[in-house]
């Protein structure tokens, strides 16, 4: 099984959340909003590229747009194997989290 890094996981989930409108700019904005941190383009392109090579996302060329200087948007779509890997990731995480006493989580969470 190909493992996912933290950033890859975040990006995959964001693409799924955005649905059809997922491309570089919107992905970055969504992640920045969700995490409350400013993500640079570099930090999303590298994982995106890796995901593409692993076959978890697909790139689709859109129409050229004037606000992009006549360049096309490239939309991303999660492939079935990408969804599969997310499911596997969640399962393994649940396994890891299982058995951790609630007290620890709660007390730390309150701080």
């Amino acid at each position: 099984m190909k493992t996912l890094s933290r950033a890859e996981e975040t990006i995959l989930l964001t693409i799924l959340k955005l649905g059809e409108g997922a491309y570089g700019v919107s992905i970055r904005e969504q992640i920045s909003k969700d995490t409350g941190q400013e993500w640079s383009f570099a930090s999303i392109y590298t994982p995106l590229d890796k995901l593409r090579r692993k076959g978890f996302v697909k790139k689709i060329k859109g129409h050229p747009l004037p606000e992009r200087g006549g360049k096309s948007r490239y939309f991303y779509e999660v492939t079935p194997s990408g969804i599969q890997s997310l499911i596997e990731l969640r399962e393994s995480q649940q396994k890891i989290w299982a058995g951790i006493p609630d007290i620890i989580l709660e007390s730390n969470g309150k701080k």
């Binding site: 970055r28 640079s40 383009f41 948007r73």
Partner: protein, 869 residues
């Protein structure tokens, strides 16, 4: 806010474009631009720009690593394919690499040479502010005659008269004198004498002694390290005494490092100017004694032009003091760094070179390289069918045209680099040969190599691009569908460009062959031209010993006792080079008639010995006692120049004196007393038998060795310490045309190389054509074609190309050689034979080159070529 201002910073954009593949670039820069515009609207263009830059820079490392990674993979693949292709087609690789290596070797060698020629005199610390004073002489028919020698009083006048001149030095050169240290005697070919400021103007490095005082005292002497070793071995030279001509003592006060060979004068022995002036009786205040060189060091802020214009008033002043002849002179400055390339007057301190010569050989080397590049182009495109599958496959898996083009360019640069490595070895091997021709000591050492390295790399890149550009353009244009359908889908049309290039190669070769033939022709003409004097069996001695010179008549008597010796004559000049010149003058000369004339000192036997014909009047004769001090022989040209003023027995002023010094007793038939580059000019000869340096001895051709031995022994009796050296007049004569002989051999070598490389290419093409036509030939033979018909079929095209090349080459070669021949006042005509011979040679060589391939293909058994069908 206008649209244009919304554009993102173009430099950052460029960086992205360079780092990313096309599609990636569109996506990423598009994303960035979208946000950028948004930001620009919201928080201003400046903040947006900063943001854009920050994003680009942050992304750079990952983009960079990515792009390098993929480039590396592809590069490795390209190199591998290039190397495999080189190995697989050994014969073609050999042709390409040999051609390019030879072409590059020629270029590197010529570049080393040009670099050397350009470096002359640049090592002097003040090189930019050193000038030589030269004279421009205008009088009568003589217009703007340049002379580089000046008179002794010029230097003090300059020093005192012009504050912007920091230092002045006079330099003189003498030669063929005897230098002795204890029992060792050396005949020095030349030595220099100069004012002590020579060491302040020029940069000399002293290994012993003090340069500020070395030439201060009379009879001091500065020598080079090699001279020090020659005279003193390991002893300390300082303070040692060297005797000049067995008379004057000189004390060594300084030792300098040998001067670099890239100097327009190389002095090994330097003596104080005034000491030598005293010994040789040089009149230091005579403005007419132009036998020396004057150099000045100008203040860096002074203008040379302004100085030049001030010389005129200075000369006018000395004119008033009685040096009336100064009125025809104008002084000008020659910058030190320009002397080697731009000064070509009589009496240069070393043989300077014409810029046009540098350009000529640079061009030839470059053309040879071009011929080699054409080979590469032709062979790669001709054989492109072998690479069609590869190109097709690459295109199918996604290579775009640019990548294929880059691959082939890379391949040609790779080949060029490989050839460069071989060419460096070739240069190492052949540099000594080149040095002998060019009369230089060039070496491919670290320093010179690093200096020309940038040019070499540019050259290699140039070769790679020129040779690779057409193949890259041509091969990358193939349509992958046609290519992969099989070679039938694409018709490799006979490339017109390929033929044009072959014609071009042959044109260059033919021009060079033509030039070689013509130079040979002219040299043959010179060797056999009737010069007007005898050149055979004449031995030349130079009588350096002044004592022996004074006892000339006794020496002659002694020599004449040998029956092998027919005649002896002494003279100051040899009949092929009468150097001194003056003006014709006599008491009743009409004002305004100015005739320059050359003058030579001879003795009674000169005319007889050299077989010079007297057409009017008589020869010098011992029977007329008045001849000793008052008889002149002039040549026909002088007679013509005098016109109606001439009559036998007319008064004649010696050395341009307005008073009569004697009578013209006879007229000689014109003979070539200068090289054939120049027309015969007016000349007069006069008697001065007891001071002449050159002894010409006419011998019977019988027993030359014994006769020479006898002459040697006799000479030893008269001057025991002087080494006996002789030359044959014929050799002396031929030396004058050394440059032409060298040009002949260098051009013929270049012609050979050019035709060799062109033939390599034609050979490769012929092999390829034969290979392509194997089946056609098989079928033709089955249908009854004979071997000769097939040979005709295969060579027909080549013959056509070479003939066409001739048509192109002829006018160019004809014009070029016409220009070259104009250097000679006496020259051959360009004959039809040269045209026909050069065409014939080129054709023969071309046909011979392909004959092997052609015959092999034509004689092959058709069964072999057809049976796989």
């Amino acid at each position: 806010m206008t649209k244009a201002r919304l554009k993102p910073p173009w430099i950052a954009d460029l960086i992205l474009k360079a780092l990313l593949a096309e599609e990636e670039y569109f996506e990423k820069s598009g994303d960035l631009e979208e946000v950028y515009r948004c930001l620009a609207e919201k928080s201003g263009i400046f903040r947006a720009k900063i943001w854009y830059w920050a994003q680009t820079l942050k992304a750079m490392p990952s983009f960079l690593i990515n792009s390098i990674y993929w480039r590396h993979i592809m590069f490795k693949n390209y190199m591998q394919i290039a190397w495999r292709n080189l190995k697989r087609h050994k014969a073609y690789s050999f042709i390409n690499i040999t051609g390019l290596a030879i072409g590059l070797a020629c270029c590197v060698m010529i570049m080393l040479w040009i670099q050397h020629e350009l470096s002359y005199d640049r090592y002097h610390q003040h090189a930019d502010h050193i000038y030589r004073i030269a004279r421009d002489i205008t009088e009568g028919t003589l217009q703007g005659h340049k002379a580089i020698t000046t008179s002794p009083p010029l230097a003090p006048a300059l020093r005192d008269g012009f504050p912007e001149i920091v230092e002045v030095t006079r330099i003189g050169r003498r030669g063929d004198r005897l230098f002795s240290y204890e029992q060792n005697h050396f005949l020095e070919r030349d030595f220099f004498f100069a004012d002590d400021s020579i060491f302040k103007i020029f940069t000399f490095s002293f290994s012993k002694g003090d340069k500020t005082t070395a030439l201060n005292t009379p009879n001091s002497l500065v020598i080079s390290e090699s001279i020090a070793e020659k005279y003193f071995g390991n002893e300390d030279p300082l303070g040692k005494t060297i005797i000049l001509d067995e008379k004057t003592d000189f004390v060594v006060t300084g030792v300098i490092k040998d001067m670099p060979s890239a100097s327009h004068f190389v002095a090994d022995i330097i003596m104080p100017f005034e000491t030598i002036a005293k010994i040789d009786g040089i009149n230091l205040s005579n403005w007419g004694w132009n036998g020396f060189y004057t150099y000045i060091l100008l203040r860096p802020d002074a203008s040379p032009d302004a100085l030049e214009s001030k010389f005129k008033t200075m000369l006018q002043e000395y004119q008033r003091q009685g040096f009336y002849f100064l009125r025809r002179e104008r002084l000008f400055l020659q910058p030190l760094k320009s002397i080697h390339l731009h000064s070509h007057s009589m009496g240069e301190l070393s043989s300077n070179i014409h810029v046009s010569t540098l350009i000529l050989f640079g061009t030839i080397a470059f053309l040879i390289l071009l011929i080699a590049c054409i080979n590469y182009m032709n062979l790669v495109t001709a054989r492109s069918s072998f690479r069609l599958r590869e190109i097709g496959t690459r295109k199918v898996v996604g290579a775009h045209r640019g990548q294929i083009a880059k691959q082939f360019l890379g391949e040609s640069i790779f080949t060029a680099l490989f050839s460069l490595a071989i060419s460096i070895i070739l240069v190492e091997l052949f540099l000594p040969v080149f040095n002998r021709f060019a009369d230089r000591q060039l070496a491919l050492d670290g320093v010179s190599f690093i200096q020309i390295l940038p040019v070499i790399l540019i050259l290699v890149l140039f070769v790679g691009l020129i040779a690779g550009s057409y193949p890259a353009f041509y091969l990358s244009s193939f349509n992958p569908i046609n290519v992969l359908k099989g070679t039938t889908g694409i018709r490799l049309k006979r490339s017109r460009l390929r033929n044009t290039l072959v014609v071009f190669q042959f044109s260059i070769s033919i021009i060079l062959i033509f030039a070689t033939l013509q130079v040979k022709d002219q040299l043959h003409f010179i060797r056999n031209k009737e010069m007007g004097y005898d050149r055979n069996h004449i031995v030349i001695l130079t009588m350096i010993d002044s004592e022996a010179r004074k006892r000339q008549s006794a020496l002659k008597k002694e020599l004449k006792r040998n029956p092998e010796i027919l005649n002896i004559s002494s003279s100051q000049f040899l009949p092929n080079d009468v150097g001194s010149s003056t003006w014709i003058n006599w008491p009743t000369k009409p004002e305004g008639l100015v005739i320059p004339i050359h003058a030579g000192e001879v003795d009674y036997d000169f005319i007889d010995l050299y077989g010079i014909e007297i057409v009017q009047g008589r020869n010098f004769s011992r029977e007329f006692s008045s001849d000793r001090n008052g008889a002149f022989l002039i040549n026909e040209s002088a007679m013509k120049a005098l016109g109606p003023e001439f009559h036998l027995g007319m008064d004649f002023g010696h050395w341009g004196s307005p008073e009569s010094s004697g009578k013209v007793v006879g007229v000689m038939k014109d003979f070539h007393f200068l090289s054939l580059h120049e027309e015969i000019k007016p000349l007069y000869l006069f008697l001065n038998p007891d001071v002449n340096w050159r002894l010409s001895i006419k011998i019977r051709g019988g027993n030359i060795r014994e006769t020479l031995q006898f002459i040697g022994q006799t000479m030893k009796k008269f001057s025991p310490h002087y080494p006996f050296e002789y030359r044959f007049f014929d050799d002396v004569f031929n030396r004058a045309y050394q440059t032409e002989q060298k040009i002949e051999s260098i051009i013929s070598i270049f012609a050979l190389i050019a035709i060799f490389i062109a033939c390599l290419g034609v050979f490769g093409l012929a092999a390829f054509t034969a290979e392509q036509k194997t089946k056609e030939i098989g079928i033709r033979k089955v249908l009854g074609a004979s071997v000769s018909e097939i040979v005709y079929l295969l060579t027909r095209d080549l013959v056509r190309w070479v003939v066409l090349a001739n048509v192109i080459a002829w006018p160019v070669a004809f014009y070029a050689m016409l220009r070259w021949l104009q250097n000679f006042a006496y020259r051959t005509n360009i004959s039809a034979a040269t045209f026909i011979l050069s065409a014939f040679l080129a054709l023969c060589i071309a046909v011979l080159t392909v004959s092997f391939q052609t015959f092999k293909a034509a004689a092959a058994n058709p069964v072999d070529s057809l049976r796989y069908e």
